[in-house]
Subunit: 187 residues, 2 copies
């Protein structure tokens, strides 16, 4: 709808992925857009409103990408590789993190609306992973499949966090490769 509103979100997202929800400054954000910081409050009454909108949009975008991946390839092993690549891409991009990963770490600081959206992102990811797993051999049991999808989601988030703290993307690759060798991520 509003162009300014869209611009705020487009510029704020990578800022949060880099510096977190707490690290996002309305004044710096406004400066980059070319408006005054008070103007942001017209589009997003509070910082929490902006945070929740960013997380929702992030999930919607991720869902579109993941669904497209599966629809076009129908190849679970390849989808799992591409999934890890998505988290890798954030690190490649100036050592950024998954938006919902940073916000999860800031749990106590974000408003409830943000928490809800962060959980929705995780749910969405886990459902998609479970869908892949049940299309693979040896994952007939649906309860075990869900648990494994949850574990893969958590493990890849952990790989991103560990690699980020070392500012070394090869750490991410090594960890994910180790997950595969151990059998956590089927290949």
């Amino acid at each position: 709808m509003s162009e300014t509103r869209e611009m705020i979100m487009a510029i704020a997202r990578p800022m949060v992925q880099a510096r977190g929800y707490n690290g996002l400054s309305f004044r710096e954000l406004a400066k980059r857009i070319g408006i005054k910081n008070a103007s942001i409050h017209y589009h997003f009454p509070t910082k929490g409103d902006l945070g929740a909108a960013l997380a929702r949009r992030y999930r919607e975008d991720a869902e579109a990408i993941l669904e497209g991946l599966w629809r076009e390839s129908q190849d679970p092993a390849m989808c799992l590789r591409k999934y890890a690549d998505g988290f890798r891409l954030a690190l490649e991009n100036e050592n950024r993190m998954c938006l919902c990963g940073v916000m999860a770490a800031e749990y106590h600081d974000v408003p409830d609306a943000v928490k809800t959206e962060v959980q929705a992102f995780a749910d969405s990811n886990i459902s998609w992973l479970a869908k892949l797993l049940s299309a693979m051999d040896g994952f007939g049991d649906s309860a075990a499949t869900k648990e494994r999808a949850l574990a893969i989601y958590a493990a890849i988030g952990g790989a991103q966090l560990a690699a980020r703290s070392r500012a070394d993307i090869s750490v991410f690759d090594r960890i994910v490769e180790s997950y595969r060798r151990a059998g956590l991520i089927p290949s």
Copy 2:
């Protein structure tokens, strides 16, 4: 040495584990101690100095606990369970996180001295894990052992992050159990 300095660190640590480095307020910290916020700067010139001191102390404490665990039991499987329990304990404690895990998520916001300490914590944990693994069967090769130790460290951090974002400690248990079933964490 200084009692006030020790009190600052003792009170600041759980605050950072709950709200992060960015979320820590000198004024709130000072209020809880019963001094003025300017006084904190006498003991820690900058927030970064306090953050680095907290991370170093955190690593030292963790090393003492882990070394004690291994020395007294010499049981790698039990040590691995106790290790995960340590991360679980933070969540039990009002949904807190590993100090170095939160600070890893705030990578771009913390000064270099803090980054160094956070990496030292990870190194220390991974070395200890590698020691356990090489004492177990089927982990003779030292290169693969190190990689596995790194993966276990990252995965448990990820489990903590995922469980925290849901404010549900059973999520942590389910993920760790899933790691065991998949064979990532030997048992």
